[in-house]
Structures are given as structure tokens and as C-alpha cells.
Amino acid sequence: MTIKTVRNLRRVSQILFFAVFFWLILKTTFEVNFNPTDPTEIMLPYPVSIALEFDPLVAIATVLSSGTLYKGLLWSLVILIPTIFIGRFFCGWVCPLGSLNHWVSEIPSERLNHRGAGKIRSNHYKKYQRIKYYILLVFLGAALLGTLQIGLLDPLALLARSIGTVVLPVTHTALAGLVDWFKGLGYPPLGKLAQGVYDIIAPLLLTYRQSFFHTILTIGTLFLFILILNRIFTRFWCRGICPLGALLGIFSRFSLFGLQKDEQSCTHCGLCGLNCQGGDDPEIGRKWRQAECHLCLNCQAACPEGSLKFKFFPQQIVTPANPAGTPEINISRRKATMSVAAGLALFPLLRSGDAFEVNANPLLIRPPGSLAEPSFAAKCIRCGQCMRVCPNNALHPTLLEAGLEGMWSPYLIARIGYCEPTCTLCGQVCPTGAIMELSLKEKVGDKDTPPNRIGTAFIDRGRCLPWAMATPCIVCEEWCPTSPKAVYLKDEIAYDSKGNEVPVKRPYVDPYLCTGCGACEFACPISDRAAIYVTSAGETRSVDNQFLLERNRKKSPVRDRQA
């Protein structure tokens, strides 16, 4: 096999893995077209979060922060162990964000991209490439004490989040808008054509219902920024920021596979440096940096003299003019120690805000099956899978509702969507177990098992139609899914502005029955701020957030499981 073939294989591999990753995110949705064997338990037919389970950084960081390797995270060894032997193949051959950065870096541009000698210079190893190791160490230090921040910059979590909450919803809006625009042109055949094309694309690419997400701007801007940086520095993210790349770089120092340089045949044409993706200095006369190399093999493919060869046990011929192959990672011990220390310090910094901020934030309604907040913070990688899969678009990324610590973690906004009583999809897709997989029985409860509660509904009597405005309305009661209903009605007499008696049924909430699903808040006809609303009070996951004396005695299987 010639090196050109191998390089083409790499291209195929990149496209393939990107396609699989994208397809899995597309499939992280509740589809109509499958037959569950038991219709009472609706399960996803595909293991959609599997891509994230291959992520060694997620595995190592969650082990540090929570002490366990959750379910499928064992798969990450499939990436980690080969890396020990052959190096950062993941970055060059597999990583979908790496591929995206690769492709964007390759788009030629007169203005932004360096060309010729300029590009060679910019492809030389730069000091900024150390930053990623420090970022990694800060995050691992923080994880050691129990706060998981790697999800912010882990490439797989970041890409899943960006595609799921930004790229796909934006595509949906754009396509629907385009169809409307064509329809509005006043030439019906064009509108029909546009609708026809849309009808073909929609089932493949779009969700059944357009979803909208909070804080899409922060997530989208960061994603765009990462992509745009490639236009200035080739694969800036991969070289300088990516903590997963750093982790794999550290493991690659044991690599048996590496670059062999032949000083004699080299004509110093510079083509290897021109095509280098990792900024790892493959040129003869420079020190090749194994930990930075993505194994893209561009240098070997570009070399017209065949002076560069990747092989197992490469001969390391070191001459004064050619300080060849070193597996070293160019970070100082002092700075590394400081980074870990900074990470350790991050934990008290994030956690010492007033406890009210997060623990008693009434807005912070976590998905059903979520762990107690400290354990949740130790496991959630903010990949957005739960938000993407929620059939009611009820889950959204937080901005500061969960404190700075929990930025972009999921919370429920009942005004936009409520928690479907029998739905357990968010727990099914969570790759780290921050949201536990509930059985139907654990979700809705039965005679022996209490239901999983995410909060409790309260009535705002100043806004409720029968309470404040002498107007009949029972929508919250009608929608209440518990059985018997947590929202109950009492026949009462209200007086309108003219003093007339108006018979109304006034709603009350039975906190012993309410599960906090938010269906009442969702359905309330007061369309801005609902007259009945859910807060996190009484949520199963928190022992502290109970207001019923009785509740503290009752055993909850979910709480027991997480204890």
C-alpha cells in the first residue's frame, strides 16, 4: 500500500466517523417509525450516545469525579489503548471535531490563511500548543475534587452539544423559512417545488417538531469561533486547546510507532511542513514532537524524496543538525503542578457561592432521574443529548441557573415543554449517568413505589382565572397526568366586577400527588407567566429540597440507588 493510499484511507475514515457521529445525533430523537415490543416501555432502538462513550477524557474525568466508570464508558479503552502504542491516531483519523477543523483549515483563502513560506512558518510548533495540557490538568484537578468541567471543551461533548442545540435547530428554521419565502414569491409552482424538496429533506434531517433552545447564542458563538480560528491558525483548536488531544498526547509518549527521518535524502523543500496538521515539526533539522502529531501522514505523503517514514520502532538518528524524534511533552513541571492546583482551587471557588444560588434555585428543574446536584455536577458533560432527545423540547441548556459550575447543563422550562409522564428517553441517552435510566415504574410510580418527582406545582392566585378574575377555567386540572390528579378543583363562587356571582371551580395542588412534570404550567392559558408553575421544591433527587415532613420518611428507590 502506498502512502497516498493510506492518506486516502485516512480521508475516508474521517468522513466515515464524522458521518456516523452526525447520524447518531440525528437519531438521538424519538422517532415514530418503530415498534416497541412492549408499548408501555418506549425505548430508543439505537445506542445513540455510543460515540460519547468512546471518549477517554469523559471516562477518565468521570472516574476521577465520581469514582465509577459508567456503563458504556469502558468503550473508551478502544481509543486509549491503541493510542499508547501508535499515538494520536484519534485526532487525525476519528475525531469528528478534528475532521471539521481539518476541513475548515484546508479551505484556501488568500486573505486569511498563510501560504507558502508563511504557512510553513505557522505550521511549526508554537508555544501556545502547551495550553491544552494546562487546560487538561486544570480540568482533571477540578474533577479530582468532584466538579466535572471537561464537558465545556471536550471535543465530542462540545460537537454533540453544538450540533444538537444549534446547528440542527438553526437548519430547521432556515429551511422552513426558505420554503415560506418561496411560497411568498407569488408563483405557486416554485412554492410547491420548495415544499416538495423540504418534504424529502425533513424526515432525514429535521425533528418532527422544530425545537428551540435557550442560550443557543453562547453555544453557537463558541462553535463558530472555534471553526473560524482555523482560518488564522491551522487546527488551532486541536493544537492549542483540545483537552482530549492533550490527554491522548500524554499517552502517546509511550508510542512504538513514529516518524523516521532520513537526513541524507532530504532536499529541505519544506513540503512536509507546508502540509503538517499538528504543528509537530516533521521537518528534518527540527525536533519532531510525537505528542503533537495527529498521524495524518500528510508529511510522509508530501515528501518527494521519501525521507520521512512512519514505522514501528523508528530509528532515531540524532545528529547535531537533526535533533530527531522525541516523545517529550513540552510543558514545565512547575506550570503543570500549578495547573492541577488551579483545578483543585476551582472546586471551592465554584462551590462556595451562596448555597441558595444553585441548591435552592426554583428555576433549576433537572430532568427526571437526575442525581442530587453535587453528584450531577460530577457527571454531567453537557453534551446536550437529553435536550435533543426530549420529545417536548422541555430540556434546555442553563446559562447561570445552575451556577457557573453547571453552565449548559440541562434544565426544564415547563412553559416551553413539560415532562411527558411515561417518557424516560433522557435517561436512556445520558452517556455518563448524570441522569439515571428510569424504568416506567420508577418514573410514574405505583402502589409500592413513589413516582420520580422533579418538582412541585404552585398556583399563583393573582393570575389564575378562577381565583383572580371570576372566569371559569380548569385546564391545569384537565392536563394533570397523575392518577388521582394532583390538581383538584373545588366548586366556589367568585364575584365579577359588577358583583355578580360566578360559579367557578378553583384549582388546588395536592403536593403528595404532584410530580412536578409541568403539564399544568405548559397548558395554562395565561400565556406569558403561567398562573400555575413548577419549582424544584420536593424533587426526588434532593433530600434537602423537601418541604413535606412526610416525604422525608418515605424511601425512594432512586435516591437509594444513588446513595
Binding site: 408499548p39 417536548n392 397526568p481
Partner: protein, 327 residues
């Protein structure tokens, strides 16, 4: 500056200024009201449908309500349907039929919040047997529609019987003049308008505001938009809807009846097994008979009384023509 350059620059500036001024004048709208209405954001295709009666001509020799009590739901449907004239009376060869079961909630069949899937499947089969060109089964669910269609068992049952089961999509609504006292222009799902025959298939359920959800209340499911406001004058809204939408046939599922905690239910303790299917050409009479399963009479239910007053049908189903058939 050279003269030529001066003229060029001035010319460009003047042209741009003129373009800006012209565009401003052209786009300026003195009638702010018209502008407002143009941007009021009606997301539904504005199509006005004058009438939507799918009724067949009355036949004085036949009863208006028939009932069959039988443990086999399919048999019960067939017997009561035969007693009211048989499927051929309602569906002619080549006609397009829409079947509207209650698929309101994410509940399993035994919880009696949605119509029995066996009945829906049998109805689809009968329509196709009678030569219907196409049978569509759809409803506008309250809970997440995909889950409702799936868990109710109706999607699978109806599809295997040969129906097209359609989930409502945003673009499938027509802005429709209901022409009622309370209901004026509302979005209606197009499959309930663009069809030859409409078969309403409600289940008998308790409801805390309207007392019951049977035939006429089931028609809420043709409406999109802000349905949750209708409870403020629920009786009038139901009657407006019943006057606008007149189904070919009402098939009431009383195989299982939700006695309490309707319309969502959830507990089997609230479900009574009645093993009964009704067929009716008079939706008021159908509701009046079926509400007895909830321990009520038509006279005690606001919207049934109001419907009779509005001339939509008769509370006194016996006088209207009622027959119970036995297997």
C-alpha cells in the same frame, strides 16, 4: 480635484441618495394598521371553508342511535353499525374517509383515555371494504402526539388495517371560519376538511368542566391553536364546533369508560368495563345516551342541553329513534 472626478463622485452620491429616498417613499406605509395586520403572524394557511357537513341524508326507517352490548368489541361495532344501516350507507366506493378517534393522551388502551384501537382498526377495515379510496386516521393530541399515537395502540392497529395514520404538522392547518357564537376563525387540521366522509370515534370519559368527553367534545381534536382558552365558555364552544363539524357517523366507544379523573385518567381503578359500542347519526342523541355510562343524563349536561336548543339533535334519544341490538 479634477472636474471629471468631481462629477463622477457627486453623481454617485446623488444616485445613492435618490435611491434611498425612493425606497423610503416606496416602502413607507401611512396605514400603520394595515402594516400591523400584515405582520400579525398568522402561521396557518388562510383558507376559509364555508361548510363541513359530511352527513348522509336521513332515513326515517332507521334508528338514529344504535347500541350493542357485547364482550367482543369488533362484533359489538358490527352489530350496532348494521342496525343503523351498515357501512354502505355511510361510505360509498371511491370516497375519502377520515376517522377521528380520541388520541388525546399518552396512555395505554386499558387506561381508557383514548379510543379502543380494535374499534379503530375494524372501522378502517369496514371503510376500505366499502370501497373507500383512502382512510385517514388522525387527531390533534394534547400530549406529545408521537407518543400518544404509539402508546394508544391506534397507530399500529390502524396502519395494519390499511389506514394512513397522519401526525399533524405545523403546515397542515387551515385557518377556518367556524362561524360560531364563540368560535370564529380557528386553525383546523386539513384532513378534517378535505375529506368526503368523517367518522367521529370518541370514547366515553369524565371531564371536570364539561361533565363528559364523548362525541361533540371529541371534536376539539380537529382544532389547533389555543384550545386551552375554550374552557372559559366550554358549553358554547362545544356547540359551535358541533354545529360547524357534522360527522357522517359517530361511533361511541363504551367498551371501557373512564369514570373519574378524566380526560387523562391513568388509573385502572377509574375504568369501568362496559363492553358497549354505539353508532349514531345524531351526535346529540349519541352523547345523551352515552353519558348514562357516567351516571348522568343528557339533561344534566350543559353542552348537550345547549346543543338540543341550537337544533343540532335531540336529547331524547328514544324519541329520536333508538335501538339496542343483541348478538
Amino acid at each position: 480635484m479634477q472636474r471629471r472626478e468631481f462629477i463622477k463622485k457627486t453623481g454617485k452620491a446623488v444616485a445613492l441618495a435618490a435611491a434611498a429616498g425612493g425606497a423610503g417613499l416606496l416602502l413607507h406605509n401611512r396605514d400603520a394598521g394595515a402594516l400591523l395586520s400584515a405582520h400579525s403572524g398568522d402561521r396557518y394557511t388562510p383558507v376559509f371553508v364555508p361548510s363541513s357537513s359530511f352527513e348522509v341524508p336521513p332515513d326515517p326507517t332507521l334508528p338514529k342511535v344504535t347500541l350493542c352490548h357485547e364482550a367482543d368489541a369488533v362484533k359489538a361495532l358490527n352489530y350496532s353499525l348494521d342496525a343503523i344501516g351498515g357501512i354502505k350507507r355511510f361510505v360509498k366506493s371511491g370516497e375519502k374517509v377520515t376517522v377521528k378517534p380520541n388520541i388525546g393522551w399518552d396512555r395505554a388502551p386499558e387506561q381508557a383515555a383514548n379510543t379502543n384501537p380494535l374499534l379503530v382498526a375494524e372501522m378502517v377495515r369496514l371503510c376500505l371494504e366499502a370501497g373507500a379510496s383512502e382512510v385517514i386516521v388522525t387527531d390533534i393530541s394534547c400530549n406529545e402526539p408521537r407518543r400518544c399515537f404509539l402508546r394508544s395502540g391506534i397507530r399500529n392497529a390502524a396502519e395494519s388495517a390499511g389506514a394512513r395514520v397522519l401526525l399533524p404538522r405545523e403546515e397542515d392547518y387551515f385557518s377556518t371560519d367556524i362561524n360560531g357564537e364563540l368560535l370564529t376563525v380557528w386553525p383546523v387540521l386539513k384532513y378534517f376538511l378535505k375529506t368526503d366522509r368523517l367518522i367521529n370515534m370518541p370514547i366515553v370519559k369524565h371531564h371536570s368542566m364539561s361533565a363528559c368527553t364523548i362525541g361533540m367534545k371529541n371534536l376539539y381534536g380537529i382544532l389547533g391553536g389555543r384550545r386551552n382558552q375554550l374552557h372559559q365558555r366550554i358549553d358554547q364552544s362545544i356547540v359551535d364546533l358541533a354545529a360547524f363539524c357534522r360527522p357522517t357517523l359517530t361511533v361511541v366507544d363504551a367498551t371501557r369508560v373512564l369514570l373519574r379523573n378524566g380526560p387523562t385518567g391513568g388509573s385502572l381503578d377509574d375504568v369501568a368495563i362496559e363492553n358497549t359500542v354505539l353508532c349514531a347519526t345524531d351526535q346529540v342523541a349519541a352523547d345523551s345516551r352515552a353519558v348514562e355510562f357516567l351516571g348522568l343524563t343528557g339533561e344534566r349536561v350543559g353542552h348537550i342541553v345547549l346543543a338540543e336548543k341550537s337544533g343540532l339533535g335531540s336529547i331524547d334519544y328514544r324519541a329520536a329513534g333508538y335501538r339496542e341490538v343483541t348478538v
